[in-house]
């Protein structure tokens, strides 16, 4: 953890009034009911008559404590209260009152201790924080994302100033030295892309911020943009300067509206302060940014498809020429992911050396990972590249949920692969993950426990890519469909042993022959589950049995007589007439007649239908 508490940070923590209550306003906390929490806090400070200022912040990435608040009064340690009940206003009032009286016993943690005040442990001592290095996410949950002044107070835009004092080649050289690689998926060295674009002779060049975060299970870009949007904007301006661009585009998907709003606002504020426009900071560098709302298609994460979307078309195209040579409107264009650009700004603010303290030999710095699925503490964790999966999932995210056993982790979204629990000591970096059939992707890790079926997981992902394939090239359009159909057959208990070989063969041909990265990585979930979880496939094929009891056609439905109240809802909805029972008596499913459609389980108001 490198969150230093200097005088400037202190000022931001306590605010001008010396009493600040932080409330996270981000998509995730809004979903957890933070608006009611804010109302309760407003009422509480009014009725208690305390001079506190309500301060909007983004999200810390610790989703498992949502909604949280932080109370900071000069003289007392800033205390974080997790899982505040939005429906219990009197409790919220009590918390604030106790805090003001110096009783911090209900707090989850404090940002730092203050001599003579009894308080719980510091944030950095908590398990979910201990191993984190908050380099790029340092401001998340600390400052108001809609205030450029607060960003500047934490060193914001000093990176741009430094970059503009350097020659373009020097800026690129600095990024080369940092070993920064694209955080969006493929891990392409950022400087290489920039350099190629820089060398092109053209009066117009574009830099695009790729905010089309479409991987299910990954939301670090949303979190960064909602919590610290200026960092992304600053990174984009530096990128624009380095390659000699005139125009920048921020591309955000319509499904993430708050992210788009905050980025657009940040651009406007940067323009008002003279960080955008003509003669930026007194130099001869002219640059401006527009934000563009994508209409939502997974393939738009791929750079040529993203460019096509801005031009009002769809679908990816063959490379080369690379966008750095011929991109948007035929002009040299670079595309960088949100997190990559935020790293650029932070590197220029705090120096390459600070960044190079972390990472592996080939990749510098830290990466934000989203850990979701079957873990105790879901959230976003920023750790040095090269951290092991075990550290992230067990030490930071707290391991399996109560009563469950982790069997695998799915890394890298729909185009990633599943890594079994035996390999959890593997390092998270681009090369290592690829070696094990997964990819780093944007850094989404979905933890899979033994109640989930690996055949179903593979089927789910091929279904996803099938729907998202743009349809231009045959291997992806038809190949993925075949994979999906065969997996569907296996799930229904109609698989044959030869199918496994067919899956492997089709998968490999799709990877070799697809036009863009979407098809090129689409079979990963199938190939990796075949490799590590072949026994589950065999169980489905040979014994017609789904060990995780997920595949509907291979399970038996039963009614728990202890829970069933005999309401008859299932009996009326059963299409096969396979349920019997008298009103108000426990009902029964006749196994021979049952079609295994699962309708009874869906309709049962008491939740009495189970699977064996």
């Amino acid at each position: 953890m490198s969150l230093k508490i200097d005088e400037k940070t202190r000022k931001i923590i306590y605010g001008p009034k010396g009493f600040r209550i932080r409330i996270p306003i981000a998509s995730c906390s809004l979903a957890a009911g933070v608006n009611s929490v804010r109302d309760a806090v407003v009422n509480a400070i009014e009725s208690l008559g305390v001079e506190a200022e309500i301060y909007r912040v983004g999200c810390m990435g610790q989703c498992f404590i949502d909604p949280w608040i932080e109370i900071a009064k000069e003289g007392l340690p800033p205390a974080i209260y997790g899982n505040v009940d939005p429906n219990n206003a009197s409790k919220i009032k009590e918390i604030i009152q106790n805090y003001v009286n110096g009783d911090l016993s209900e707090a989850m943690a404090v940002r730092f201790k203050v001599d003579g005040v009894k308080s719980p442990q510091e944030l950095t001592e908590l398990d979910p924080w201990k191993y984190q290095v908050r380099f790029v996410s340092r401001n998340c949950g600390l400052i108001d994302p809609e205030s450029i002044e607060d960003y500047i107070a934490t060193g914001g835009y000093s990176g741009l100033k430094r970059a503009l004092e350097m020659k373009r080649e020097e800026v690129i050289e600095e990024i080369k030295r940092s070993k920064l690689r694209g955080r969006g998926g493929a891990g392409f060295p950022t400087w290489l892309k920039w350099n190629l674009c820089y060398q092109q002779k053209s009066d117009v060049k574009y830099v695009i911020c790729n905010g089309d975060e479409g991987d299910p299970g990954a939301f670090m870009n949303r979190l960064l943009s909602e919590s610290d949007p200026h960092r992304v904007v600053e990174g984009l301006i530096i990128a624009g300067y380095a390659v000699g661009a005139t125009n920048g585009v921020i591309f955000v998907r319509a499904e993430k509206p708050l992210m788009a709003e905050r980025l657009a606002k940040a651009v406007q504020q940067a323009r008002e302060k003279g960080f955008l426009g003509k003669n930026i900071l007194g130099t001869d560098f002219n640059f401006d940014i527009v934000t563009y709302r994508s209409a939502g298609a997974f393939v738009c994460g791929e750079e040529t498809a993203l460019i096509a979307a801005i031009e009002g078309r769809s679908r990816s195209r063959q490379r080369p020429p690379y966008p750095a040579v011929k991109g948007l409107w035929g002009k040299p264009t670079i595309l960088n992911n949100v997190e990559t650009l935020a790293h650029v700004a932070t590197i220029f603010q705090f120096g390459v050396e600070e960044f190079l303290k972390y990472g592996t030999e080939r990749t510098g710095g830290t990466k934000m990972f989203c850990v979701t699925g079957s873990v105790k503490r879901t959230g976003v964790y920023e750790v040095p590249i090269g951290t092991t999966i075990r550290r992230l999932i067990y030490d930071l995210a707290g391991g399996a949920k109560e009563g469950k056993n982790i069997k695998a982790v799915q890394a890298g979204g729909p185009s990633g692969g599943c890594i079994p629990v035996e390999l959890f000591d593997v390092q998270l970096d681009f090369e290592t993950l690829q070696q094990y059939g997964a990819i780093m992707g944007s850094g989404g890790l979905v933890v899979i426990d033994d109640s989930m079926c690996m055949v179903d997981v593979a089927h789910f992902f091929t279904g996803f890519t099938l729907a998202e394939s743009c349809g231009k090239c045959l291997p992806c359009r038809v190949g993925v469909k075949l994979l999906n159909q065969i997996l569907g057959k296996i799930k229904e208990g109609e698989g044959k042993i030869e199918d496994l070989e067919t899956l492997q063969e089709i998968g490999e041909s799709i990877m070799k022959t697809s036009l863009c990265a979407l098809g090129g990585t689409a079979p990963n979930p199938v190939i990796s589950t075949l490799k590590y979880f072949k026994h589950e496939y065999l169980e489905h094929i040979e014994r017609k049995h789904c060990p995780a009891k997920v595949c509907q056609k291979l399970v038996t439905y039963v009614i728990n007589p202890g829970i069933c109240n005999g309401c008859g809802t299932c009996l009326r909805s059963c299409p096969a007439g396979a349920i019997e029972g008298k009103p108000r008596d426990a009902h029964k499913i006749i196994a021979e007649k049952c079609l295994r459609c699962g309708q009874c389980m869906i309709v049962c108001p008491a939740g009495a239908v189970g699977k064996v």
């Binding site: 998509s27 995730c28 809004l30 979903a31 957890a32 989703c63 498992f64 949502d66 975060e213 479409g214 991987d215 299910p216 299970g217 990954a218 939301f219 949303r222 979190l223 319509a254 499904e255 993430k256 509206p257 709302r293 994508s294 209409a295 939502g296 298609a297 997974f298 979307a309 801005i310 031009e311 009002g312 078309r313 769809s314 679908r315 989203c370 979701t372 699925g373 079957s374 879901t378 959230g379 799915q410 979204g413 729909p414 989404g444 979905v446 899979i448 989930m452 997981v457 789910f460 992902f461 743009c470 909805s573 699962g598 389980m601 869906i602 309709v603 108001p605 939740g607």
Partner: protein, 176 residues
């Protein structure tokens, strides 16, 4: 029905609307997506006749427009309900049972087969891609058709899902 009436009232200046759209963005092929987004804002779906008028005015074949309209998730070609309930089918939500919540909601609203919207145009229930709220899986996002209201509900169970859609339908019927 009242909403039908409103639709017909709006229809009166459909042509003016399209003309203004073309004036704002120009006869620019590359501005097609923002133009379609504006049509969505006004009608909450892409009515065929509007697309045809647009096609004539910007001189882009209707097939091209339909190509773009069907490619992106944001666009829809059918009318929607007062509230749109989108159930996340992202990885985390799916693995934690969003499919069964989705089926329970559809069952509660009597939606079968290809039908996603109730006949009274109160509720549309549809699967969606990730909202980035994976930590609250399974998640449903509820938006009003005009996009002005937005609510996210997390950690849903099938019975909570049922209650949720019933609540929004009642609210929709009150407002319509």
């Amino acid at each position: 029905m009242e909403c039908e009436f409103e639709r017909s009232r709006e229809r009166l200046d459909d042509d003016t609307f399209v003309s203004e759209l073309v004036k704002k963005y120009g006869k620019d092929r590359s501005m097609l997506i923002p133009m379609l987004q504006e049509v969505m804002l006004r009608y909450h779906y892409l009515p065929r006749d509007i697309l045809e008028t647009l096609s004539e005015k910007i001189e882009v074949p209707i097939a091209e427009i339909i190509n773009v309209a069907t490619f992106y998730h944001q666009f829809r070609l059918e009318p929607v309900g007062r509230y749109i309930v989108s159930i996340c089918f992202g990885t985390a939500c799916y693995l934690l049972g969003s499919a069964i919540v989705y089926e329970a909601m559809r069952d509660a609203m009597g939606l079968k087969g290809d039908k996603h919207t109730t006949d009274d145009l109160a509720i549309t229930i549809e699967p969606a891609r990730c909202f980035g709220c994976c930590s609250l899986a399974p998640v449903a996002m509820v938006t009003s058709a005009d996009g002005k209201e937005r609510y996210v509900h997390g950690k849903l169970t099938p019975s909570e899902g049922r209650k949720l859609v019933r609540k929004y339908r009642a609210q929709a019927l009150k407002e319509m």
